[in-house]
Symmetry: C2
Subunit: 410 residues, 2 copies
């Protein structure tokens, strides 16, 4: 157990409606005895995260009910979709969180890894959970940018510890996001795993076409495809260090890597087509759209499916109608949130177990990441400033995946 | 039996390779006794129909083999796809036809209504056919622009005479075509019937959205949808006599008719959406593409399917990627030729029977049409000139559906 009880944490304010959303002072809380304090990154109205987010300190959680589990978050990703939810431009609803008798707000964060701190009897007996277990969220928009929560056992899934904190924190549901940068792809392996499984029946040796191959999902697609003995034709933007990027993608298992520039050369296109030796790709995973994506369509065989999960070009997907009519092309979309809503808890666990298997075999690398800790020693004023700083960085397009760790208030 | 034997027809040339494609003289044919002559509209190389087509007169058919059926064509549609096949820009192959011992060519025409003239024992006993039966083609690219052919019983389907010649001649397979006018829609009811049946499970009262609603398929969609108690939101181009056209479409059973101009008015779009009372269309039949079609997408509900079967705008189908991801939109194509290839003879007969039922109930009108006869009294020179004239008219975009009747040579 990682909890350290700090004497100063016993002095807590009773949050009042007047103070809602403001930094709270610390004073004795007279009615109930709290041992230490929780902290959440919350907002009360939609807007740019760097404007509307603040941290709030609130009393520790009461003992959980029979099916309840008190969890403490270890690592929670900052996904582009989280930003969109805060901005209010995302079709996902947050549940209002009660911080105290009269204090309410929306806690940011959709996915995260947590440790079980205490739990009710039913949660223990019917869900096989115990103190110290690692769990991830089985319910969306749980409010993971916080130090801890009381959740119901049904809404969490136990994960083995040998996959490591970063993998475990990013293995759950994912959402894509849209912004000035277009619709960006989600970051989690389930998106790659499900897209490779759910649309086209792929056999060993079959080819997959994808763009944005160096995105987080793109890299997961390369690795999971390689694990399944599928071959990949990958497209990325040209850049000064293109050879280095190609080498990196090949090291993940990419069969071929090209740039969109190659699409303007007829003989290169013909060469690319010949690679598949007549067994042309029947699956095209698209997170870009726009004219390069249209140009890639000619690399597909008849009866192919384009699955779109992002639109980094900010352009629509434009398809010559003849492809639909004469080549039997199908286009559709994938959204892990929808997948999640349309599948049972058992199906979700099955996908997670499959991905854990791949991780355990060393076939799926951790995403490049950076961990940002909101320390328990910081005041809410300082913690809020740290969060706003981080959000400004993320809004500007942080390179690496950011994982946030909100410590309990000491 | 409509055959009239004419003494002059007995004198026939033996076609020679040297004369192939040219107008043939008439003289005694020494080896075999022919009673009269057949005529076909044929070509030896691809090109504009008005350049490459000619008629050829060739000896009457020998008695059919056991599974053979000698048929005489009554009416054969001139479809845009037939033009494309002759131009060589269509993904359909013609079988080479043998006119005599050394005479070969490609006979134009894909669909048509014929009458059985004579047949082999197996065709009679195993397929239940008899002289005088009306039949349509169960095989594509049969070469229907001719006076008669010997076919196998497997390749034809008997049709009841009470549906009338025009309905019967246009009830079979259809192909769409592409040209300077874009990809145009096919003309036959099976396209409408199958598109309404195969993609989305539609219940009574459900809504269908379509554009090009005054096209031949569009009108069939309106009628078949009305027959199935489905409601239709139909779009057409604005025009001076728009009220007249709307009245016409309403008379066929259209629930609502709008013009693409209405799409630029936000409040009209909102009004159109409210018509479906929350039960937004899940099926959108598209034969136009381009920006108006993109604008129509917002009239769809979540989880909808766009089926494209034409592209009269000559533009691609452009879809905001977010529709795929967040609204679970699917887009695909329909091509009656593919449907035909992927379904059994029994399934084809089943569709035909269903459409005949609708016709018999008076719920499906004959297409507007014009019948062009190539008379048996005309020389091949004159007949060729007539065909070329007709083709020039059709290439220029004839308004009505043209049905051709190639008479036997007298």
């Amino acid at each position: 157990m990682l909890r350290t009880i700090n004497a100063s944490a016993v002095r807590l304010s009773r949050p009042s409606r007047q103070l809602r959303g403001r930094v709270l002072g610390t004073r004795h809380f007279s009615c109930t005895q709290y041992h230490f304090a929780q902290r959440a990154i919350q907002y009360e109205r939609n807007g740019e995260p760097s404007s509307v987010l603040s941290t709030i300190t609130y009393p520790d959680l009461p003992p959980p009910p029979a099916y309840g589990v008190n969890i403490k978050y270890l690592l929670s990703p900052v996904n582009p979709a989280d930003i969109n939810v805060i901005q209010g431009v995302y079709p996902a609803k947050k549940a209002v969180q009660q911080f105290g008798p009269s204090e309410y707000g929306l806690v940011a964060g959709n996915e995260g890894l947590a440790i079980v701190e205490s739990l009710g009897d039913e949660a223990r007996n019917k869900f096989g959970l115990k103190e110290g277990d690692w769990v991830i969220m089985a319910k969306q928009q749980a409010g993971t940018w916080s130090s801890g929560l009381c959740v119901t056992a049904q809404d969490i899934i136990k994960v083995p510890k040998d996959v490591g904190e970063v993998h475990a924190a990013t293995i759950t549901v994912s959402c894509c996001a849209w912004s000035g940068q277009g619709i960006s792809q989600p970051v989690n392996p389930p998106t790659a795993y499900n897209m490779l499984r759910d649309f086209v029946n792929m056999e060993k040796g079959d080819w997959v076409l994808q763009n944005g191959a160096n995105s987080a999902v793109g890299e997961a697609v390369i690795q999971i495809a390689a694990y399944r003995s599928l071959k990949t034709i990958n497209f990325v933007r040209n850049r000064p260090n293109i050879e280095e990027l190609k080498k990196h993608l090949h090291s993940l298992g990419a069969t071929h890597v090209f740039t969109y520039d190659d699409l303007s050369n007829k003989s290169t296109v013909s060469d690319i087509k010949s690679l598949a030796e007549g067994n042309y790709p029947k699956l095209f995973l698209n997170c870009v759209s726009g004219k390069d994506t249209t140009a890639m369509l000619r690399l597909l065989g008849a009866d192919a499916t384009v699955v779109s999960y992002g639109a980094m070009s900010k352009q629509p997907l434009s398809v010559p109608t003849s492809y639909f009519i004469f080549k039997d092309l199908r286009t559709c979309g994938f959204w892990q949130s929808r997948w999640y809503n349309q599948h049972t808890r058992e199906e979700r666990i099955e996908v997670m177990d499959s991905i854990i298997d791949i991780i355990r075999q060393g076939k799926l690398r951790e995403p490049e990441h950076e961990i940002v800790t909101i320390p328990g020693t910081a005041s809410d004023e300082d913690a809020t400033a740290m969060v706003k700083d981080l959000m400004r960085r993320v809004e500007g397009g942080a390179g690496k995946k950011v994982l946030i760790k909100v410590e309990e208030v000491q």
